[in-house]
């Protein structure tokens, strides 16, 4: 056991190095893109103040932001501050970026976890149904639905659900994460869930076809194998075969796929949050881009890369558990 652990260390180090290099590259590219932009953040900041600004004051702001320093120096400054946990101050919300991110990420995380679990469970269940009923009508019907749903844009689905369930039927609130006019401390868990429901459903509907089709394919592979044929010859029923041979083989790969889909989840949440005016990271990032709030835009970009990275790392660890061959090859 200890030996095995020792063997794992260089691999872990190499992986850690790769992750660090990727995150560094993301920060460099994001910073370079923002620097090359023709949109002047100082001008936007001054517009946002809403008052006239004297040239001296403007020069002071430029000095304070270090806009006139060479880009490399500015990047190193920014990176140094980033590593110390200081992401600068948002020009749009006039608060530290780190504070905005931590606050909004709590909202986004609640939304993404709900959507993630929901899409995983629905996708896996439908995938099993499709695999068991292979080439019969439930399979064909569900496959068509999956193909249809993967052509539906997230934001339009959100719009339609908003129209039907919030505007017409009035079952769900139209937006935001808590009722308007209620103090933050007084919002109950159920009220939060009520506001979360529609965006989470939107997000999970667009992401379950992928997992369903993947599960179906895996289950079809398992069910057409010879050991399943033998099990059937021994007289095991479909349900027993699914439980003894199917689920064991397909559950972990599905979970792995689910963990490696964090990028799509985050991208989808940007759209869902915008449709439902949900105060999470997604609505903050598009507002930051539209209002030229450079510190916030950079902060959220790096944070999203970190988020995706966590998902991929978990997926990679799971791969090792699912398929021992991957472990052995690396030894």
């Amino acid at each position: 056991m200890f030996q095995w652990f020792i063997r794992l260390v260089p691999r872990g180090l190499r992986y850690g190095l790769k992750v660090i290099s990727l995150l560094l590259a993301v920060s460099i590219i994001a910073f370079a893109l923002v620097c090359a932009s023709p949109i002047d953040p100082v001008q936007q900041y001054i517009l946002g103040l809403g008052t006239a600004v004297s040239p001296e004051r403007r020069a002071a702001i430029e000095e304070y932001w270090g806009v006139n320093d060479p880009p490399v120096e500015r990047y190193l400054n920014w990176l140094g501050n980033l590593l110390r946990g200081d992401l600068g101050e948002s020009a749009l919300y006039r608060r530290p970026v780190a504070e905005i991110i931590s606050q909004r990420f709590a909202n986004s995380l609640a939304l993404m976890i709900c959507a993630w679990v929901l899409s995983g469970v629905i996708g896996f269940a439908l995938g099993c149904v499709m695999g068991v009923f292979r080439d019969r009508w439930p399979d064909k019907l569900l496959k068509k639905i999956c193909y249809l749903l993967s052509s539906v844009p997230t934001f339009w689905l959100g719009l339609v659900l908003l129209l039907v369930f919030a505007v017409t039927l009035g079952w769900f609130p139209v937006g935001f994460s808590s009722p308007i006019g209620v103090l933050e401390a007084d919002v109950t868990f159920w009220q939060r869930l009520h506001h979360l429901a529609l965006p989470a459903i939107t997000l999970s509907i667009v992401s379950f076809p992928g997992i369903a089709l993947h599960t179906r394919q895996k289950l079809v592979d398992v069910l057409s194998s010879e050991y399943v044929l033998f099990a059937r010859a021994r007289g095991e029923g479909t349900w027993t075969i699914l439980r003894r041979h199917g689920l064991r083989n397909i559950l972990l790969p599905a979970l792995t796929l689910q963990f490696s889909s964090f990028a799509e989840l985050f991208g989808g949440s940007v759209l869902a949050e915008n449709v439902f005016s949900y105060p999470g990271l997604g609505s903050a990032v598009s507002a930051a881009g539209l209002n030229s709030d450079v510190p916030l835009l950079l902060g959220i970009t790096v944070f999203s890369a970190l988020f995706v990275c966590v998902g991929n790392t978990i997926a990679n660890l799971l791969y090792g558990i699912v398929d021992p061959r991957i472990r052995e090859v690396s030894q």
Binding site: K18, S21, L22, A25, V26, I29, A30, L33, V34, A36, S37, P38, I39, Y147, L148, S150, S151, V152, P153, T154, F155, W156, L159, V160, L162, L163, V167, T168, V174, A263, E264, F266, G267, G268, V270, L271, N274, V275, V285, S286, G289, L290, S292, L297, I300, T301, S304, A305, V308, C309, N312
Partner: protein
């Protein structure tokens, strides 16, 4: 369906019909005269009728023709961006498979990098860099969509490289360039085209999403994303048609292009049709 036609012929006919339909929508969008989508305040906020199939928006513009126009704009963006992206994928994929271990490692790292940031955010960043406009949208979509196709092509070339006839022609003294054009490309071209067409739907959906967020095309352009983001303002006032119909049309076109790509794959690569 006609029993005398076999499955391959049926697929061929279906694919051709889909292609014609998509081309028709595209051409219609370009040929529609300006007056048909001009605003007229007398007709503002009309629900769908025989005269205005999809109704009219708050400025009295006919939504059906606006949608058709928007679709052709979206398709142009999607097609141009995916073509660029597919060429990148082809070059990068071949380079990774043929190049040294270092090149391969670097390209894999690059793919991990592009896949490591949510695409919506990357497109927002690139669009921000290029001053929010059509150019930013095109570059953004082209820069984010090549990864999976590049991986596919890399795998394909790797597999082809280990074939005996490639080793043989190398022994016979053929140059790498000759092997590339005569042995590798003929295998890759069908894959490449299928990959290209299957990239369109993603590119179009991303275009619509990013326009919806307010990046990309200017508001006076009739892009689908912009029509839908305008429709949001009137949603609570009970105007449902600007949100429902343009979106539904977008879904249909995307689905159609997606199926076209899948059918084309079945025609070009019959073994995959059995799945």
């Amino acid at each position: 369906m006609n029993r005398r036609l076999n499955r391959r012929t049926r697929t061929l006919i279906l694919t051709a019909a889909m292609g014609v339909l998509i081309l028709a929508v595209y051409a219609a969008g370009i040929l529609v005269p300006e007056e048909w989508t001009a605003s007229s305040f007398l007709d503002a906020k009309q629900p769908p009728s025989l005269q205005h199939w999809f109704g009219t928006d708050s400025l009295g513009r006919d939504l059906f023709w606006r949608t058709v126009k928007g679709l052709s704009v979206s398709m142009t963006v999607g097609i141009v961006a995916s073509c660029v992206s597919a060429v990148i994928a082809l070059l990068v994929g071949i380079a990774a498979a043929v190049g040294s271990k270092g090149v391969d490692g670097f390209i894999n790292w690059l793919i991990d990098l592009v896949m490591g940031v949510p695409h919506t955010i990357l497109i927002i960043l690139i669009s921000f860099c290029l001053g929010r406009g059509l150019k930013g949208l095109l570059v953004g979509i082209a820069a984010t969509h090549w990864c999976s196709l590049a991986r596919l092509i890399r795998g394909e070339v790797m597999q082809l490289r280990s074939q005996h006839y490639i080793a043989l022609s190398r022994r016979l003294g053929k140059s790498s360039g000759w092997i590339l054009t005569n042995h590798l490309l003929p295998h890759l071209i069908p894959q490449f085209f299928v990959g290209l067409i299957l990239m369109f739907p993603h590119a179009i959906l991303h275009e619509a999403s990013v326009s919806f967020l307010g990046y990309g095309l200017p508001p006076e352009q009739p892009a689908i994303g912009i029509i839908l983001s305008e429709s949001m303002k009137y949603l609570s006032a009970g105007m449902w048609w600007p949100a429902v119909f343009p979106g539904l049309t977008l879904v249909l076109i995307v689905l159609l292009i997606d199926r076209l790509g899948e059918n084309l794959r079945m025609i070009l690569d019959p073994s995959s049709a059995q799945e």
